[in-house]
């Protein structure tokens, strides 16, 4: 495994990873510029755009700290460049680890175990890439069709479209939370306190608009804090 990780950390692999991370960065820059042009058409002010960017950035701090910690753990398992590449772009750690493990299984070896040589690592890398490609290809090829679908479902009714969006969001997060609720224990506490904290904070922010940007970040911390202390 040591020898295998040495290869995984070679400079050439960093370069390959860097290429993909650059594409993600370039994509954001291109969209960022396009957003300013589009904002004029729909009458959104530049100040609002900057506020939106800042809010997104601030809200991202908490989750990115978690991603940071997870990534460092992942680095010792699949090497720095691959962890960087898969977590800055495309992946979530559990998905990537599962893909790498399934790849090893297909080669008849336990991931990171005996017999995990360069040949098997190549299969793990292949599996992660081909798995990620599934999402990339579907979105790349069919995303514009989803826009058509949304317009049909919305039927040009802005009130219904708003309700549709909120319902979809509730459904997604209802699902995500239900997995943790079923697990019980610490994660359940995090969900409950995160939710209550957010509700309270949003109500406060209606009177104190200055904290609006930070409500989600603070609620998240409260949820984590409560779960850590009480479990």
């Amino acid at each position: 495994m040591e020898a295998v990780l040495k290869v995984a950390n070679e400079f050439g692999v960093w370069v390959c990873a860097g290429a993909l991370v650059s594409v993600a960065l370039i994509q954001v820059i291109l969209y960022y510029r396009q957003l300013f042009k589009a904002a004029e058409v729909v009458e959104v002010s530049r100040d609002d755009l900057k506020l939106a960017f800042r809010t997104g950035a601030v809200t991202a701090i908490g989750p990115v700290i978690a991603i940071f910690i997870i990534m460092v753990g992942l680095m010792s398992v699949i090497g720095g460049p691959m962890a960087w590449m898969r977590l800055a772009v495309i992946g979530a750690a559990p998905t990537e680890l599962t893909a790498a493990t399934l790849g090893a299984e297909a080669a008849g070896v336990e991931f990171g175990g005996e017999g995990y040589n360069l040949q098997v690592m190549a299969v793990s890398w292949w599996t992660m890439a081909i798995n990620g490609a599934g999402w990339l290809l579907f979105v790349g090829l069919f995303c514009h069709k989803l826009e058509d679908l949304r317009e049909k479902a919305g039927g040009g009714n802005p009130v219904w479209l708003g309700i549709l969006s909120v319902s979809a969001m509730l459904g997604v997060f209802g699902f995500l939370n239900s997995r943790y609720i079923i697990k019980m224990g610490g994660p359940l506490l995090a969900v409950i306190f995160g939710a209550i904290a957010m509700i309270v904070l949003v109500k406060i922010s209606r009177k104190v608009p200055a904290i609006k940007e930070y409500t989600l970040g603070i609620a998240m911390l409260i949820g984590m804090f409560a779960a850590t202390i009480l479990s």
Partner: protein
Amino acid sequence: MTVEDRYEQIWIKPVIRIGVITMLLAVVLSFGPLAYLYIVHGILPDWPTALAAWGLVAATFGAFYIVEPVSYYPILGLAGTYISFLSGNISNLRLPCAAMAQDVVGVPEGTRKGEIIGTMGICGSVVVNLLGATLAAFIGSWLIGILPEIVAEAFKIYTAPAIFGAVFGQFSLKEPKLAPFALGIPLILLYLNVAVWIVILAAVFGTVAIGRVFYMKNIIS
């Protein structure tokens, strides 16, 4: 030109073009490390093993390739979807950041203004994410070393549920009558051990369907 046409020209068309090119480029570059292994070390997986591995992941994740983009699209919008599926970490990072940007600026969801603002929020999250990941790659181990164990553990285990709870709370305030269904449907289905991809679809489209019914009956507006 009407506003419709201008929106099409200035936003929709370029967004699709940028999106398709970057996503397809990303597919190709994903195999970069594998190509490196072959060119420099002469290693290539043999076809039967590669196909077997592909079969395993496709069976495990295949449904999600389709279910996730379809489920998240109403909130992420066109550009938001391209960005989020390239940069990943959608439920714990992109969705919350898009939703917060919309709330803080004060634009309704599902509108064009909402999409522009939400997408900008996602851009903010991508920049912070790329910075954090790059930092981790280069000084991660050292920084973790000086962080107290209990803090690192808390971040690792509790960030996701805490943020999921918080976003659920945020949206429950908008449509409190729908919240119980959004939680109840997946809870019951998971308890019954239904396949996960079906649970996502049921939770999302079930809640949307109930939303439709409530809207038509004027229970919500």
